[in-house]
Symmetry: C2
Subunit: 519 residues, 2 copies
Amino acid sequence: MADNVETIKFPEKWVRMISLTPPSLKDNTADADRLAGALKRELDTDFIHIDLSLIRMLPNFLRKCNYQVRCVIFRDRERYILAGVLDTKTESMAAGLAVDLGTSRVVIRLLDLENGLTLGESAFDNPQGAIGPDILVRIHFAGSSEGLKHLNGLIIEGLNREIQSLCETCGILPESIYLVTVAGNTAMTHLFLKIEPHWIIREPYIPATNRPGLVGAEELGIDINPFAQVMIFPNIGSYFGGDLIAGILFSGINKKQDTAILVDVGTNAEVVLGNENWLIACAGAAGPALEGGATRMGMMAGPGVIDKVTIDPVTKEFTIHTIENKTPMGICGSGLIDLAAQMFLARMIDIRGKFVPSNCRGRLKEIDGIYHLIVVSAQESATGKDLTISQVDLDSLIRSKAAMFTILETITGTVGVGLSELSTFYVAGTFGSFINPCSAISIGMLPDLPLESYKSLGNSSLGGAALVLTRPACLNDIDKIRDRITYMELNVNQDFMNRFSAAKFIPHTDTARFPSVKH
Amino acid sequence: MADNVETIKFPEKWVRMISLTPPSLKDNTADADRLAGALKRELDTDFIHIDLSLIRMLPNFLRKCNYQVRCVIFRDRERYILAGVLDTKTESMAAGLAVDLGTSRVVIRLLDLENGLTLGESAFDNPQGAIGPDILVRIHFAGSSEGLKHLNGLIIEGLNREIQSLCETCGILPESIYLVTVAGNTAMTHLFLKIEPHWIIREPYIPATNRPGLVGAEELGIDINPFAQVMIFPNIGSYFGGDLIAGILFSGINKKQDTAILVDVGTNAEVVLGNENWLIACAGAAGPALEGGATRMGMMAGPGVIDKVTIDPVTKEFTIHTIENKTPMGICGSGLIDLAAQMFLARMIDIRGKFVPSNCRGRLKEIDGIYHLIVVSAQESATGKDLTISQVDLDSLIRSKAAMFTILETITGTVGVGLSELSTFYVAGTFGSFINPCSAISIGMLPDLPLESYKSLGNSSLGGAALVLTRPACLNDIDKIRDRITYMELNVNQDFMNRFSAAKFIPHTDTARFPSVKH
């Protein structure tokens, strides 16, 4: 299949200006056939599909426009599909919507399909969180009577509300949206399409579909242009979803000669290693400590959340930075990594990640026999309570960082590539984009590469979804990524456990691997 | 396109037995992808589409059937489409429905897709007749507020009722119908698909679409299996519809070495001439006299309707045959042709079609100065009134038969084929099947060919629609017919009018053309 796909010449944009010769007695081609014929020539294809609902409006619309129109097209595997017809007046907008369909958070970006410019972006908590923050809970719930319908309704209605509101902000009508791309994990994709996710989590872990392809917006209940088409990113399997494919697409590692790595850090650490010739992927639990929620003060990035910490190694004084410089109210994953790195460099914790009370200068208190370090005192915090980090939190962070490093070691080891040979190290995820690589290296979570090797991608799933809207040829890349990728099941064997144990020290038992980290 | 299509290897039947290897940890292909993969191998294709609605039921259904299923497939241009999945128990039926979507009458035939056998057939008057028997009236009505919706509702509801009733008769559920083929004229096709037919009847006579292709039954509101697919025969233009293409397909003239002709006689005479290399078609008003409705006693074929008349040339005695031998209540087109032929042979009308009073022996009466011939007296008729035929009726018939003959002359003349060179003369249409070629030759409506050249096809549109359900490769022929056919606009010029005038005699001014007709 990949070979077939390879030969496709994609158009530059999904919107094409089409000028038709009006019909006459000598040329009485039907309206839809006339438009399809012109599009076939324009796109150099034999196959263009026009939905019945669109055919119905063509006769009057074409005449109103004197047979001069803009067509929004998209490609569905072997054929192009017409997703909308607009007049040639520039004030009528052909917009596209990219959706990062996250388990906890959904981010949408509105684009002008003609010039590729972003019109606006917004995010909302996945309303399915009301059923359960954990995707597993939702999958079980989907099996109950009306459960799937309810979960599907939550995400579709939530999306519709957000679209409506973003469109208002941007001053356009939802009817102006003709194309939507959706990148989500496999389970979220199923719930979004109202497909029973039951078998995804039962051995042998089989999704209903890995290639949902294109679906009409109307069929999905999305309140945008009724002819709009929704492209769902394909999955690789139950535990490797379209969000990751979108991320790979956005990173471009699939097109580079040099081998690079992409890490999407969240509850799961999803890792892709490869180059233009091969791609290998794996995912493993990196631990909740990295995402907020694990430590009592841990939380998602947001105003007032501590995202950077510096500790004077001599005075042990803390310099705290919060998002938008608001009064501190908690700490996010990246802040936690900074904190741990700084405490390690200030010898406030040892190489096992245990507090060194003598160096903590009165910041330590003991609750139920467990040490808690006061990061921000009650007087200075927005909550009126001490913001603390406990030994339990630290232990959890150590396990997470060890898991991450072990996964990185394992995947590179599998293909015989040294970590130091990696040309670029992409860190993705909203959370990933806040990580200070220097701190992550200091605690031994990320390998000790030159800092310039690290590139933050931000929300790479959203980026990949948006890319497809503005660069049609990317569709080709998606198929190629899908066809070329090898998914490696993480085999948690003795070898893995040995590596994991060695990585549970700061930065590592083998300090030679982290020459830049001076204790 | 035709060349692309040529290379397709169609399956023998639309139902395929598919045996899947159940998924395992080593083969975790998604359910829909697994089925699609097996179908791709089975059908030797790269492209198989499975609708989202069908994907939703696959996971549980495949497991219930142990991954052994029967698939109903169909082809939509470049790709196959899955129209249904059944278990392998033979008691679950995969049925198909062929529809002849006539302006006045709709005929449906239910088939077993697996063995091709007909399960049953039934017909109903097109409920749109309530708006107007004439398609023009309906097209105008469609332009009024809710007019199109109303007309569409009438035909869809009528069809649903008939399907329900036919299914009951045949002892199957409408849910067992997975494929539907619909052959109708261009305007009826538009109304069936709820497409505005406005521009079909306005110069330059442009349909909205000539290739509607495949549409989901659910989208059309047809109450059969929700995954069922409906294939609409393509049109050539506003005045040459899918019913004719189905007729050509059924006649097979497109596959014969020798040139043959196909005539579908109704309000319009639709004529197709050709062979395996070329096809030329034209249509012209043959006049309503041939279809019933024109003469006061004229009507559609049905019980009690006079379909055959013999007149003793000496005694001038009438022998009348009615359908089902019921008491006569009217006369249908074929009866009218018989009557005219017999009257001509009995010298009761002259070569201009005018009554010869001296030979009509008291059967003539004059009403408002116009001669009426009593065919059946009031005493013997089912209506209690004389069944008569007037000079006006005869004049109308003469014009109709002259038009038909002129059209036949014109189309054959255009390609330089003599009428006598035709290998076979197919007469189609429910009405056509009742025509006695001998009588039609006697009045000079059909050319004087050996009687064995004439073949009655019956309802060729229905036949063609049914053929597609049982012989998949026919889809190929449809595209070839469509791509190869030349539609000839009847140019009613002086030459045509001269021929028409010459044909307004019985059998013709040039009696040498009708050697078998002895006056």
